[in-house]
């Protein structure tokens, strides 16, 4: 492992000004993300966990420059990405990728799977010919567990789980260093969620990817992460490795969160049935 973290976020704040329709009223400022700091080491999965409106999604959007930050730094391999212009940041987009929550909204309905997956390849000049692109797409589809024959089809022909696999393929095809997964499995049914979680974990390990896993589901977080940061009202209230968070929580909010989860009785037969 390298001695330097892949991503280091220092005192990041993202504020929104809510505009009122009449132009004379004062604008109110919402501190969606309020002075947070964390780091992600190479090959590590850090989860950002919290309830709706705590600002966790804004963190992800700020780090992918979909939302403008207000104050702070985000050093990616030592280089601050936040003050960059979109044009300066474009080459780095290959290395910092995002998986979105809603598999039904994150694919352009008018493009075929092939068109969707080829786009980043051509933008980042990873391939020089159409044939090479198709070869790449075939390989990546196989990796995410889809058949290469689906390339010519449109998103509406697929189920939620399949679409999320396509979304993952779009991210993995450019071989990123850092993947930001924003509630990547929340919209999926339990049985499909398990498949996709397995896929994400496998791809992450095989490729040594660092990941910021944003989620509200503590079970999923325990399953996937190495370390966990708990967010509450725009601030990170506790960061620790996952065993400390789950077995020895320090902050009262973390304790409250853990206590609120409905527990499923464990049943040994359930775990052994398919093995």
């Amino acid at each position: 492992m390298a001695d330097q973290p892949l991503l280091e976020v220092k005192n990041l704040s993202t504020h929104f000004k809510t505009k009122s329709s009449a132009s004379f009223t004062a604008r109110t400022v919402v501190k969606a993300v309020d002075d947070i700091s964390f780091h992600i080491n190479p090959g590590e999965v850090l989860s950002l966990v919290g309830e709706s409106g705590c600002g966790k999604t804004t963190v992800g959007r700020t780090l992918t420059k979909l939302t403008q930050h207000s104050i702070g730094k985000a050093l990616f391999r030592g280089q601050d990405i936040l003050p960059m212009s979109q044009a300066q940041f474009r080459p780095l987009r290959r290395e910092i990728q995002m998986i979105f929550q809603d598999p039904f909204a994150s694919l352009n309905p008018r493009l075929t799977i092939q068109q969707t997956l080829a786009e980043p390849l051509f933008i980042h000049k990873l391939v020089s010919s159409r044939d090479a692109a198709i070869q790449h797409i075939k390989e990546i589809l196989e990796k995410v567990g889809l058949d290469a024959s689906i390339m010519k089809r449109h998103p509406h022909e697929f189920s939620g789980g399949q679409r999320q696999r396509i979304g993952i393929a779009r991210v993995m095809i450019v071989q990123p260093q850092l993947v930001i997964a924003d509630e990547a499995v929340s919209a999926l049914d339990v049985s499909i969620q398990a498949q996709v979680l397995n896929l994400i974990k496998q791809l992450q390990r095989d490729n040594g990817i660092s990941m910021l896993f944003i989620s509200h589901d503590l079970g999923v977080v325990r399953h996937i992460s190495d370390r966990v940061a708990v967010m509450y009202q725009g601030k990170i209230v506790e960061t620790a490795n996952k065993h400390d968070i789950f077995d020895n929580p320090q902050h009262s909010y973390t304790k409250k969160l853990l206590a609120a989860i409905p527990k499923v009785p464990t049943y040994q037969g359930a775990l052994s049935h398919a093995t």
């Binding site: 399949q162 049914d189 989860i261 409905p262 464990t266 359930a270 398919a274």
Partner: protein, 341 residues
């Protein structure tokens, strides 16, 4: 000895009479009209619910659990979804043979429902007080003032802070959790015998979810209402219900007392579902996911609905549909090999 047996038999009869079913679904079939044909979405659903009981219906999206609830409540009328056969007996009356005007006397009074989306389930243009009063005055001969008094009590009952102020609030001025509390107040307004809760906490955060579920159980303790809780979350069901029915593709595939179910899961789907959930208390490295996906409703399947995804499929599974058989008292499973695997 003889005497003792007779006594036990007698007691059993008395108990059976006492716990007479409040709600009884018998071979309910529901289909959705699509183009020229009817696609079955709920298949031979039989359920019974005694008074003061909490029944959980669990399953993934599209399994027919919400449609079953809407059918019981009588909210399918005027939609593309039709009840094709079967009966729903509530309080000894078959709801499906009732005239709509008679049925409306039960809706909101003896039977009430809360829905998944607290953000959109209240009418945005009326004050929450008026929305509670509306249901009270629909079913009770009571003055506006009296109904308002009752609405205040209800708001207090569902633990809304400062009910005197809140009664004049519009829905958009409340948080999601508070709106769901208001929905519960509307549902409980006429002391229903049956409360149907369709994914009542799915849209809420876990901490709020806990508060809302606790509130529902607390109200059940006080009023003795029966609850049907529909959820995709096995954890929610395990913590709140006495009985569970697991649905898959429109069929009840396993039905048991909650404790029984979690100690002796008999259907491969139920087991797979449980194995798919990553635990918060133990570390998991790999999830035993059920392979494949839920077939869409227009896909024709012969035999057991689960056989394409099942690890134990044998030839008979794809040929004949298994019936729901009791493997133990109070524990029924729809699987050819329920006892063996």
């Amino acid at each position: 000895m003889q005497c003792g047996t007779a006594l036990i038999l007698g007691l059993k009869t008395i108990l059976q009479v006492c716990s007479v079913a409040l709600l009884e679904l018998d071979n309910l079939n529901i289909a959705v009209a699509s183009k020229d044909k009817l696609l079955p979405v709920v298949h031979d659903c039989s359920l019974s619910l005694a008074e003061h009981e909490t029944l959980g219906i669990v399953g993934e999206s599209g399994c027919g659990k919400s449609l079953t609830a809407l059918a019981i409540m009588g909210l399918l009328e005027g939609s593309q979804v039709k009840i094709t056969s079967g009966s729903i007996v509530f309080d000894g009356q078959n709801l499906l043979e009732m005239k709509p005007s008679r049925r409306r006397l039960i809706m909101g009074d003896r039977m009430a429902m809360i829905f998944q989306e607290p953000m959109t389930s209240l009418n945005p243009v009326y004050r929450i007080g008026d929305q509670i009063i509306e249901v009270i005055r629909q079913h009770r001969r009571i003055s506006n003032q009296g109904a308002k008094q009752r609405a205040l009590e209800l708001l207090e009952l569902v633990k809304i802070p400062q009910p005197e102020d809140r009664i004049n609030s519009f829905p958009h001025q409340l948080s999601g959790g508070q709106r769901q509390r208001v929905m519960i107040a509307i549902a409980m307004a006429c002391d229903p015998a049956l409360l149907i809760a369709d994914e009542p906490t799915t849209a809420l955060d876990v901490t709020v979810q806990k508060e809302v579920l606790d509130l529902m159980l607390d109200l059940q303790q006080r009023t003795g209402t029966s609850i049907i809780l529909i959820s995709h979350d096995l954890g929610v069901i395990a913590e709140t219900c006495n009985e569970v029915a697991v649905m898959y593709r429109g069929r009840i595939i396993e039905k048991a007392r909650t404790r029984q179910l979690f100690s002796h899961m008999a259907h491969p789907y139920t087991r797979g579902l449980l194995a798919s959930i990553p635990s918060v208390v133990t570390d998991t490295d790999w999830l035993e996911a059920i392979p494949g996906r839920v077939p869409t409703i227009d896909e024709q399947l012969s035999g057991c609905a689960f056989h394409p995804r099942c690890a134990h499929t044998k030839t008979s599974c794809s040929q004949t549909e298994p019936p729901l058989i009791e493997v133990q008292e109070h524990h029924a499973v729809r699987c050819h090999f329920a006892g063996e695997i």
